[in-house]
Symmetry: C2
C-alpha cells in the first residue's frame, strides 16, 4: 500500500488555514473589481466535488454567472436587499438540485445500479435525498470558495421559481442557494454576529 | 483597520491542505483504537460553528456519543450495514435540527429580533429554514472533522425516530445525519467512486 495523504497519519491544518476556512472567514457583502477567471470557478468545483454524498448521488448542479448579461438576468430575481451585492460580485454561483439525479446512478454508483429504479419509483425518497445531499454540497462549495482564497456571499433571499424559469427552462434543476464570490470590496462586512454557546449546541452520551 | 486574515489579501490553501479536506480525503468505514478526546470533539464544533447560516440561525445541534453505553444505545438504531462501523468508531456525532431554533433569535440575530415571532407564526418557513441550514452545518462539521486531522464517516442509514426517542426525549431535536469519527482502521475504505464530469454539473451564463 502506497504512503499518501489517504493512508498516512493526518494532523490538523495549521491555524492560518483554519482561520481562512472557519475562524476568521467572513461572508462578503461587497466585492472589489478584481476579476475571477473561469478557470478559478472550475477549480472551486474540482474541490467541492470530492466531498461525500449519500450513495455518491451528487445531486448538486452549478451555474456560474459572470457575464454582464447573465448577471442582469440573475439580479432581476434577487431580493431587493441582495441586488446590489450580486451586481457587485465578479461571479455568482447559482446552486441547484438536479431533481432527476438518479439517472446518473449506473455511472456514479456502479456497485448498486438498481438504485436508479428505486429512486425512479419513489418520488418522496428521491426528493428528500436530492434536497439533503445537494444542500451538503452547497456547504462544500462555500468552503471550497474559501479554500481557493476567494470570499463567498451566500444568500437565501431570491425568487427561486424566477431563477429556475430564467436559467433552467426544462424544469429539471431547482435553485437552492445563490452565492456571490470574489475578493472583498469596501466595507465588505458588518461586525460578526454572535454564535450560540457550546452548552446550547453540544450534548454528550 | 488592523491587518488580519479578514482584511488581508487571501491566497489558496496549499495542496496538502486541499488534499486533506477535499481531493484525497476519504470516508472512513473502519476505525483504529486510537481514542478521540472530548476536547478534540469540542474543537470540531469550535470550527464548524463559524461557517455561515441564513440570518445566523444556527439550527444544528450536536450529540457526541463516545461512552460504551451511549454507543450501544445508538448502534441499536443504525441500519444493519452501519452497526459495525459505528461500533468501531471511538466517537460518533449525532447531528440534529433544533425545530425551535427561533427561540434563540433575539440573542443570535439582535439586529432583527422580531424574526423570532415570524418563525413562531410560520411553521412551513420555520421547518424549511431549520432543515436547510442545519444541513449546511452538517457539511461544515464533516469538513471541520477533516480539518482537525480526523476522519469522518457520515451515514444516512439509521432509524431517525428511534435515535430521537432514545436521546432527544422531548421531541425538539430531529436527527438528520450520524457521523462516525476517529482515525482509520484496517481496510478503511473501498476504491473511490466516480464523480460526475464537469459537463454534467457546470453550466455558464
Amino acid at each position: 500500500m502506497s504512503i499518501d495523504a489517504t493512508t498516512s497519519p493526518t494532523t490538523a491544518l495549521d491555524d492560518a488555514a483554519l482561520a481562512q476556512l472557519f475562524t476568521q472567514a467572513r461572508t462578503a457583502n461587497t466585492f472589489s473589481d478584481e476579476p475571477v477567471s473561469d478557470a478559478e470557478l472550475t477549480a472551486i468545483w474540482e474541490l467541492a466535488k470530492w466531498a461525500p454524498t449519500a450513495a455518491n448521488t451528487q445531486p448538486l448542479r452549478v451555474l456560474f454567472v459572470r457575464t454582464e448579461d447573465g448577471k442582469a438576468r440573475l439580479v432581476e430575481h434577487m431580493a431587493d436587499g441582495n441586488k446590489a451585492k450580486t451586481a457587485s460580485a465578479p461571479a455568482v454561483a447559482v446552486l441547484a438540485v438536479d431533481t432527476q439525479f438518479h439517472e446518473h446512478i449506473p455511472t456514479i454508483f456502479p456497485i448498486r445500479p438498481e438504485m436508479k429504479d428505486y429512486f425512479a419509483s419513489d418520488e418522496a425518497a428521491r426528493t428528500t435525498t436530492a434536497q439533503f445531499n445537494a444542500t451538503l454540497q452547497a456547504a462544500y462549495v462555500i468552503l471550497a470558495i474559501r479554500a481557493r482564497g476567494l470570499f463567498a456571499g451566500p444568500m437565501a433571499g431570491f425568487d427561486a421559481a424566477g431563477i429556475d424559469g430564467e436559467f433552467f427552462e426544462d424544469g429539471r434543476f431547482k435553485t437552492i442557494l445563490v452565492v456571490n464570490l470574489g475578493h472583498p470590496g469596501t466595507d465588505p462586512w458588518f461586525d460578526r454576529l454572535p454564535r450560540l454557546t457550546d452548552d446550547d449546541v453540544i450534548s454528550w452520551a
